[in-house]
């Protein structure tokens, strides 16, 4: 018998479709490329007002201004802090609650689940939440980034359904050996849930890194402003910090304010762009779990 392989014709549709997909890729990548090129633009270049595919003369002046700016660096530090603590807090807190609720023999489980479900249908919304934060003393407080983001219903549901797939025998044998519920959770269950911990952790981290809204609403103290909120002010409200203004004056008209904007955008996005190739499969997996259970 001869080996038979189905040969498919490559027609106009295939070529057109592939071309379309290439256009999609281009449209997707171009915005970030645009930011990169413009942030590297040499000052003289920017005068011409032309947009190029590549910077003709590469200059790091804008980055020097951005990285030398104390307020931007402080904002960067705040963002890193909130991402680290916010993510760790969210993953731990939600996973622990989910573990308790994953046990069907838990007394009061039905009531707990109802309490959790109702929060999906109704919510207080912006103003009551704002008033609550003020009452709790979270206004102008770093904790406003962490505590209100500790828990999420969807992530809890993902945890619960994942914990249920861990064989009971594993937990039972640990119990026989005298482990407590916390012992089982931290020594058996969580080490066996690395994939889902990573996925939810990544989503939480991306949220914390990218959020600018909390900072706009709750933070007045300039030392607590996260990076994205600062970017919002630089870009949308066109306000520059004192350092930046001084730097601008020092460079004279040679340095266009736009390239400082682009350099700060690049500094704020680079961490995401750098880790993206390694984490994207987890992110996609997360959506799949969420989609199937949700």
């Amino acid at each position: 018998m001869t080996k038979y392989k189905k040969v498919r014709r490559i027609g106009g549709f295939e070529i057109g479709n592939a071309a379309l997909m290439l256009i999609v890729c281009f449209l997707t990548l171009y915005p970030m490329w645009f930011v990169l090129v413009n942030s590297l633009n040499a000052p003289e270049q920017a005068f011409l007002g032309t947009v190029d595919w590549f910077p003709k003369v590469i200059s790091l002046d804008s980055y020097r201004v951005v990285l030398g700016d104390d307020s931007i660096m402080n904002a960067f530090y705040i963002t890193v802090l909130r991402t680290v603590f916010g993510t760790a807090g969210h993953v731990l807190f939600t996973a622990i609650v989910a573990y308790g609720l994953s046990k069907t023999y838990l007394v009061g489980r039905k009531v707990y689940m109802k309490i959790a479900l109702i929060t999906m249908l109704f919510s207080g919304g912006l103003i009551p939440t704002f008033l609550l934060m003020v009452k709790l003393g979270f206004y102008d407080n770093f904790l406003v980034f962490i505590i209100p983001a500790l828990y999420s219903f969807f992530n809890m549901v993902i945890f619960i359904s994942f914990f249920r797939t861990i064989p009971d025998s594993l937990e039972e044998s640990a119990k026989v050996d005298g482990a407590s519920d916390y012992g089982v959770l931290f020594r058996i269950v969580l080490p066996n849930s690395m994939a889902v911990l990573a996925t939810i952790g990544l989503f939480s981290a991306v949220y914390h890194w990218n959020d600018y809204y909390q900072g706009v609403i709750y933070i007045r103290n300039p030392d607590l402003v996260p990076l994205q909120t600062m970017l919002y002010k630089i870009i949308a409200e066109n306000s520059m910090s004192l350092m930046q203004q001084q730097a601008m004056a020092q460079f004279g008209a040679r340095l266009p304010s736009d390239s400082i904007k682009f350099a700060s955008m690049m500094v704020a996005t680079l961490p995401i762009l750098l880790v993206y190739p390694f984490i994207q499969r987890y992110l996609v997996k997360g959506v799949m779990i969420g989609a199937i259970k949700g």
Binding site: V51, Y105, Y112, P128, L231, Y232, A291
Partner: protein
Amino acid sequence: MRGQMRTFVKQWQLQSMVIPGIVWMLIFCYIPMFWLIIAFMDYSVAKPMLESPFVGLKHFEAFTSDDRFWRSIRNTLGMSSIKLALGFCIPIIFALLLNEIRSLRFKRTVQTISYLPHFIAWTIFGGIMLNWLSGDGLVNQLLMGLGLLDREVLFISEPKYFWWITFFSDTLKETGWAAIIYIAAIAGIDPALYEAAELDGANRWKRMWHITIQCIRPTIAILFILAVAGILGSNFDQIFMLKNNMNIKSAESLDLYIYNMGLVSGRHSFSTAVLFARSIVALVLLFMANYASKKLTGDSIF
């Protein structure tokens, strides 16, 4: 009952895992829910809440006679309708076309690249849009280069373009990500169905219509229900970034109106009345969309 108490005490470890979560929900979800009652009061920050005087529907009457409120409804519905009518299909079409790519490697690469903008903050993406749409920005250069414009247009400052700007920038940023769920649904279709259809002489478009679309119909229905239920919502991150004093006439969505009235002008009770009315309408919409979908397609969320 006593037996339950005894078990409760016995499971104190498990209970101590769950109860902090319940307390968190009571504080951060239920207290704000309860505080919606300030919609019926003249609340001021200076006094304890329950000592504020009840004023009945005063604030509801006030916002329904405010032109700016109706303008924000118009803007919200305008932006949502464009998103629903055009934006809803784009991820589906993208998923269908991507599915036709035969090289697995190429397919994966396109997919991975198409998700990327979803993870870029709106501050960045909005900043790029503001630059492109400015007087000497990319859009003007492009349109003038092609001879479609003879002088610069300040796109971002013209109210009449704003809805379309939100639509296009959202499409550019979110299409790939929104398509994931359809791509996953398509991947779950039994290949035998396609082979059978091919033997019966169904061409590419017939297979797409009769097999792919039919198989992912429940997914489409669920996302459509959610989209209809969310019609009074808007992408706050996006609008907050792109709005300015010139385009506010068509940029102020309901969310932004609530924000401006409540947090900028400090009219807490007034904005809470708007919030209250909106959540009721959103809930009704959710049940209506769910019912309609159940009747029409047999697929529903609950």
